[in-house]
């Protein structure tokens, strides 16, 4: 299991391997844990995700960024089986995940968290943690009624849960209802609960959303510690500090497509990324000549009825 094999997984080696990878969308990685190919998801007329090819390198932290509505969370849902794409294939450790239900994806070692934190409010923090453990004997109906079948396993799960709660600074809240936790504590609990399953790949959907700045640093530390114990991390985030600080590799999505890839520094300077976030005219002053130029362009478009990309608007005006 990943936790024990942490000594054998060398983070620096994985990072070094990434140095050879070209900074291009869809670049091949030396040791991919997840490969998605031509994954496409449409909602009516809207193409939310249209990813041609993307690979996630094992043993490093990969950030998935992009402006609002870029399809990051939808892509996340597709990868984890919470949503079905219209077409495409994607795999985890070489096993195709096409048509595999979410719970089985999770059992394979790919556990996710949610953007809107999903703690089990009316269960205690400790019970929340225990639910996360996999392969519980007491979870089958017939054995559940007879405690001797599962008591020993429950004991060891509780010890593991306590250790994780200690690490995530929630041990004092052990007996409280999860619903009484603050937003940041819920994020911590969700992350800790995911670790109860001892996953190989941890997928964090906006781990920093709604977390106060003081807690942010500690959360960053926790995410890094996941990598350091040999897990692969894929996260969706808006917070650029976090992206710059902890990710080894960044994938940028815009309008459903992967538009850029690379280490954080190279991606932040990429013209396509800046354009996607800020618009392509963001660094030009709006001078009088520019204004006239844009006006002329617009008038030319209105005058020219045949232009395909304005047909929709004009069609309405003509009718």
């Amino acid at each position: 299991m990943p936790a024990e094999s942490s000594s054998t997984v060398d983070v620096s080696a994985a990072r070094a391997a990434l140095r050879e990878v070209p900074h291009e969308p869809g670049a091949k990685k030396p040791d991919p844990v997840v490969v998605a190919h031509q994954v496409r998801r449409t909602f009516g007329g809207l193409t939310a995700v249209d990813v041609d090819h993307v690979e996630i390198q094992r043993g490093v932290i990969t950030g998935l960024i992009g402006p609002n509505g870029a399809g990051k969370t939808t892509f996340f849902n597709l990868l984890t089986g919470f949503d079905r794409p219209d077409q495409g294939d994607w795999s985890f450790n070489g096993t195709s995940l096409k048509g595999v239900p979410a719970y089985r994806v999770s059992r394979m070692g790919m556990v996710r968290t949610f953007q809107l934190t999903k703690v089990l409010s009316r269960l205690t923090v400790l019970e929340n943690m225990r639910v996360g453990a996999t392969g519980q004997r007491g979870e089958s109906l017939l054995r559940a009624m007879f405690a001797p079948f599962w008591r020993g396993q429950e004991q060891s799960n509780t010890e593991r849960a306590d250790a994780l709660l200690e690490r995530f600074l929630l041990i004092k809240k052990r007996e409280d209802f999860a619903g009484s936790l603050s937003g940041g504590q819920r994020k911590l609990l969700e992350m800790a609960r995911a670790l109860m399953a001892d996953p190989e790949l941890v997928m964090l959907d906006e781990p920093m959303a709604g977390v106060n700045p003081a807690l942010k640093q500690s959360l960053l530390g926790h995410v890094k510690s996941l990598r350091d114990e040999g897990r692969t991390v894929l996260f969706v985030e808006h917070d650029m500090d976090m992206v710059r600080d902890i990710s080894d590799w960044v994938i940028v999505m815009a309008q459903g497509k992967v538009i850029a890839e690379g280490p954080p520094d190279s991606v932040m300077g990429d013209q396509r990324v800046i354009d996607a976030y800020l618009g392509s005219h963001h660094d030009q002053d709006l001078s009088e000549e520019m204004e006239e130029e844009i006006l002329a362009e617009a008038q030319a478009e209105i005058g020219d009825n045949g232009t395909p990309d304005t047909v929709g608007v004009e069609g309405e005006q003509r009718v």
Binding site: L120, L123, E139, G179
Partner: protein, 332 residues
């Protein structure tokens, strides 16, 4: 005003066989709604199918009562599967719609003229309790003399019923303290979170629906036995809602919630009925005829009961046994 008679008869109802039958039905709903968050509005359907299986096996086909009981419980389980397969993957509301409709379909079908020779139409069936009443060891009125007593057959029915309640409570307790029960409670809180942790939510919901449905079937069988008769009106929609009331009064997701709920509910219902009928009886009634006559009095119990329920839901929505702390966490 004969307070002794009022209290004695109310107690007879509160601990009686009807209360025990509703307790069983509410335990089934507790598994569904209290622990798993499944909105089953068709518990009467589960009761009907099992009750009719027993009575028609004996009264119509002359088969063994025990075989009928087993088939009854199995058919409740099959009904749960049939209702669960299409709806448990959907949002919670769909199960509510499908179950309430299914219960009505079952009731109307069983009471139909076409099936008259099997199920006796609206008159139902009688004369199927032989094997059950033969086991009755009591021959005189049983109870605490001067406080509350029951006829021998009623006492036998209520004894068996309460024993079944005890057994079901034991099973529910054993299940809900286990990791299996924890998964059910987690599903009630948030399905997607449970799915993300590698649990097959659909299978767990199905198991819950079957277990609660079978307990409901048990309630149906006991209902038929206790009345020594069965007819479609036993299984109208209000049966389900009475069972829900029993559950909510006691407190959902508590093992003993339905037990406390049913005693309180039936005691109060009977008490109010007797009180108002006595208060309006005679030539010089306690309540003047100008305000209420004896015909109107019989409806008062439901009005007061409804009002009490409203107040309970406002001031103690977690029921008698519920945990106050849980209410503080309204936001999910």
């Amino acid at each position: 005003m004969d307070w002794h008679a009022i209290l004695s008869q109310s107690l007879q109802q509160g601990l009686g066989p009807v209360a025990a039958v509703y307790c069983l039905a509410a335990i089934g709903l507790n598994v569904h709604f209290g622990y798993t968050g499944l909105l089953n509005f068709g518990q009467a359907g589960f009761m009907a199918i099992a009750g009719y299986a027993v009575s028609s096996f004996v009264a119509t086909w002359g088969l063994s009562f025990w075989l009928g009981s087993i088939v009854g419980l199995l058919s409740a389980a099959v009904l749960a599967l049939l209702l669960g397969v299409p709806t448990l993957r959907l949002r919670a509301d769909y199960l509510a719609i499908v179950t309430i409709a299914a219960a009505e379909i079952i009731r109307q079908t069983i009471g139909s003229v076409t099936l008259l020779k099997y199920f006796g139409g609206q008159d139902g069936l009688q004369g199927f309790v032989g094997s059950f009443s033969d086991l009755n060891p009591f021959s005189d009125r049983v109870g605490i003399p001067g406080v509350v007593t029951w006829r021998p057959y009623d006492f036998w029915a209520l004894l068996v019923c309460w024993l079944l309640v005890a057994l079901c409570c034991l099973i529910v307790w054993a299940l809900m303290r286990s990791p299996w029960g924890r998964v059910l409670k987690s599903i009630r809180e948030d399905e997607d979170a449970v799915r993300s942790l590698g649990k097959n939510v659909y299978a767990y919901k199905m198991q819950s629906l079957v277990i609660g449905g079978v307990i409901g079937g048990l309630a149906g069988i006991m209902s038929a036995l206790q009345h020594s008769a069965i007819n479609p009106s036993f299984f109208a929609t209000d049966t389900t809602f009475f069972a829900y009331t029993v559950l909510l009064v006691g407190g959902a997701a508590r093992v003993l919630g339905p037990v406390a709920g049913t005693v309180i509910f039936w005691f109060l219902l009977s008490f109010l009925d007797l009180f108002f009928s006595q208060a309006t009886a005679g030539t010089d009634p306690l309540i003047p005829t100008a305000i209420m006559d004896s015909n109107q009095a019989s409806l008062m119990r439901f009005m007061v009961m409804g009002l009490t329920l409203m107040l309970l839901m406002i001031y103690r929505p977690q029921g008698i046994f519920g945990d106050r702390r849980e209410l503080a966490l309204d936001a999910r």
